[in-house]
């Protein structure tokens, strides 16, 4: 058996963490893009479209992310769409992220006082002009902190990709555990590395929230 020093364990974990970071980034960016589209759709106030977004949110917020990943990975290939673990992880994390962000942003838009819409209306601004010049500039400010806060959930969500066999930080942890039989140490390291990724994001979100609240 090969001896693993602490450094060996950490080195391997750090290497795998690159994939966690990459997966998080891709999922967050694509999730944000989809959420932007869905928010636009929701803002049209078309009853059919609004309903669609509502069901979408309900579906992906109301089912386990792990189940979504299984469906994307095993499910899709069973019905004829071959997809890699990497692809399935990105797809499911995108759906998951967008569903939560749409809902978070909805809250941000809805907290703006009704008076902002009314004042714009009596000044003669059209719906789109009101959105562009009055609502969105304010809503994005409010949305910044919770959006950064949610990125923590995305990073943590990537850990589930380990279950479908994608080698990122958590999967590397289980593999190292099998090789070293030192689960306490290995998973403590894994947890600390996630913490090192997530805590700065949490702090950033808290800072933004404070800054915004003072500015209001």
């Amino acid at each position: 058996m090969i001896e693993f020093s602490n450094w060996d364990i950490l080195r391997n974990l750090l290497f795998a963490m690159q994939w966690t970071i990459l997966l998080s980034l891709i999922a967050f960016i694509s999730g944000t893009s989809v959420a932007l589209g869905l928010t636009a759709v929701r803002l049209t106030r078309n009853p059919v479209m609004t309903r669609f977004v509502k069901v979408y949110v309900e579906l992906f917020q109301g089912t386990p992310l792990l189940m979504q990943m299984f469906l994307c990975f095993f499910g899709l290939s069973m019905i004829g769409y071959e997809i890699s673990a990497w692809g399935a992880a990105i797809l499911s994390l995108t759906l998951f992220t967008s569903a939560f962000l749409v809902e978070i942003w909805r809250g941000c838009i809805d907290t703006l006082p009704k008076g902002q819409w009314e004042a714009s209306r009596v000044l003669g601004l059209s719906f789109l002009q009101t959105l562009r010049h009055v609502i969105l500039p304010q809503a994005t400010r409010v949305a910044f902190a919770p959006t950064v806060g949610f990125s923590v959930q995305v990073v943590k969500g990537t850990a589930l990709a380990s279950v479908i066999g994608f080698v990122e930080l958590t999967k590397a942890g289980t593999m190292l555990n099998n090789a070293t039989f030192e689960p306490f140490k290995v998973f403590a390291f894994v947890a600390l590395l996630y913490f090192a990724l997530c805590y700065p994001l949490s702090l950033c979100s808290k800072y933004l929230e404070k800054k915004y609240h003072v500015a209001r």
Partner: protein, 242 residues
């Protein structure tokens, strides 16, 4: 000639009959104060005039154009009807100057320079010429409300609707806002105010409309009506507020 004309306007919130057949005729240059208890329908009436609220029966016209609350209509209406709110509703992310310039530039399609000239002139008019670059949150309530007036004036409206615009202000700040209104009245601006400021209604206003239970209960020359009310309800109301 009449600028704002209401003809048997009825409005319902579900089963609740808010406005029960309102007739009103407001001439250009007139200053009309709408008074009454809360729940009497006075704010609703004001919001119907510029299409913020729908009404179910009757007709409202401003400057001979029919008012409905369909969006396009409201936008066209915005060119002749300005409105000021109790809570100012300034845009907090824009400076005072940008607040005023926004609608002239994107609705009236004026050039930025032109809009800026207008904004500065309007700010001077309300006595806040030095606040062009400030953000609303840095201003007192009274100053914010004057900015809101300047913002409405920048659209060069024919009539200005004021919905309890001094109610959210600290007492010592009310005077500045009323002074601006008085100046506007002198210059011949048509004003329709929902207000609790009886002194202002009597001294500056031409006419008082007393609303009660969704109806125009009593109306007439402001000095006469407030000193010598006819109906029991108005007597009670005046007794309660003075």
């Amino acid at each position: 000639m009449s600028l704002v004309k209401l003809d048997q306007v009825h409005k319902y919130y579900g089963d609740f009959h808010v406005l029960k057949g309102i007739d009103l005729d407001i001439k250009a240059g007139e200053v009309v104060s709408i008074i009454g208890k809360s729940g009497s329908g006075k704010s609703t009436l004001l919001r119907c005039i510029n299409g913020l609220e729908e009404y179910q029966q009757g007709g409202i016209s401003v400057d001979d154009k029919e008012v409905t609350s369909e969006d396009i209509q409201v936008r066209r209406l915005a060119l002749s009807v300005g409105m000021i709110f109790q809570n100012f509703n300034l845009f907090p992310h824009l400076t005072v100057g940008e607040n005023i310039m926004l609608a002239p530039t994107i609705v009236l399609k004026k050039s930025k320079a032109e809009a800026q000239t207008i904004a500065k002139a309007m700010l001077e008019k309300v006595g806040l010429g030095d606040k062009f670059g400030s953000y609303p949150e840095k201003l007192s309530g009274g100053q914010q409300q004057r900015v809101a007036i300047a913002r409405a004036l920048a659209m060069n409206p024919k009539v200005l609707l004021c919905d309890e615009i001094t109610s959210a202000l600290d007492p010592e700040l009310v005077g500045d806002v009323l002074k601006v209104l008085e100046q506007l009245a002198k210059e011949g601006m048509t004003l329709v105010l929902v207000t609790h400021e009886m002194n202002f209604a009597r001294d500056v206003g031409d006419r008082v409309v007393f609303m009660h239970q969704g109806k125009v209960w009593e109306e007439g020359n402001s000095k006469k009506l407030l000193s010598d009310p006819e109906t029991e309800e108005l007597k009670q109301f005046i007794g309660a507020v003075l």
